[in-house]
């Protein structure tokens, strides 16, 4: 059965390298989802996914658009970035694998947990990347999903 039409949509632009605004989009998404009346566990999962994705854009990409679409059944987040892309997606999905710089690690990020953590919190996760162009993430979190 196709998912219900989104009742709420919003776009969030994210700029690569903008560490000063890191987390702004994720925190706004969290507040929106809370205001829409979603349960705390779903809101938390969506916020973590959004934050990890936002940090990935800030650390590695040039710019991105995060699209949030909420329906009664699911929260969908699409992150479409212009950036260097990922040559080996399987390797990038490995916990602990990271190409982060020392500066990123000093900020508390770049431990190689971002993509695996996004996948862990998602009910449906798809990643597509082209070297030299960018990466697209498509994440669905079911509001009534039985998540491990």
């Amino acid at each position: 059965m196709p998912a219900a039409e989104p009742v709420f949509r919003r776009e969030f632009p994210v700029k690569g390298g903008d560490f000063a605004k890191a987390g702004a989009a994720a925190c706004e998404i969290k507040e929106l989802l809370k205001d829409l009346g979603l349960d705390a566990a779903t809101v938390r999962r969506a916020a973590i996914v959004a934050y990890e994705a936002e940090m990935n854009v800030i650390m590695y990409a040039w710019k991105a658009r995060m699209d949030l679409a909420v329906s009664p059944d699911e929260v969908r987040l699409t992150v479409d970035d212009s950036g260097p892309g990922i040559a080996d997606i399987e390797l990038a999905m490995t916990e602990g694998y990271s190409t982060a710089t020392a500066e990123m690690r000093e900020l508390g990020f770049g431990a190689g947990m971002g993509l695996p953590n996004i996948k862990r919190n998602a009910d449906v996760f798809a990643i597509d990347s082209e070297v030299g162009r960018g990466t697209r993430l498509d994440i669905t979190i079911r509001t009534n999903g039985h998540h491990p």
């Binding site: 987390g23 925190c27 969290k30 916020a47 973590i48 508390g108």
Partner: protein, 118 residues
């Protein structure tokens, strides 16, 4: 369950967010300097001990529903980070104890069932 008041007493901590509720209870405690690990493994409502004192700590705690932060080893966040925490009702504590000492004292308190032991 341990509460913020116990943590302040045990760690000789300074409350950086004066209006915070002192009987905030913590069902879990998590210690890490890596916000990636906090996002991946800390449980909602947990107390975070960290040696990292930047704005990402506050954002991470907001996103992952952590209940309060202890900055160890004399680390202090910048005033704008404190303002950000106040706006999100996130209590912040600073202690001069090292991460190991702070964790060790809190572990003793947890083992005691929440009754402070010096």
């Amino acid at each position: 369950m341990i509460v913020l008041k116990d943590v302040l007493a045990l760690l000789d901590g300074e409350l950086l967010t004066p209006a915070s509720v002192l009987d905030t209870p913590f069902p879990k405690v998590f210690a890490s300097d890596l916000m990636s690990d906090v996002l991946a493994s800390a449980e909602p409502g947990a107390l975070l001990l960290t040696g990292l004192a930047n704005a990402h700590v506050v954002s991470t705690c907001s996103v992952a529903d952590l209940a309060a932060v202890v900055f160890v080893q004399g680390k202090r966040p910048a005033p704008d980070v404190v303002v950000q925490a106040l706006s999100r009702n996130l209590p912040l504590v600073a202690t001069r104890l090292t991460m190991f000492e702070a964790c060790s004292k809190i572990a003793g308190l947890v083992e005691d069932g929440g009754h402070a032991r010096r």
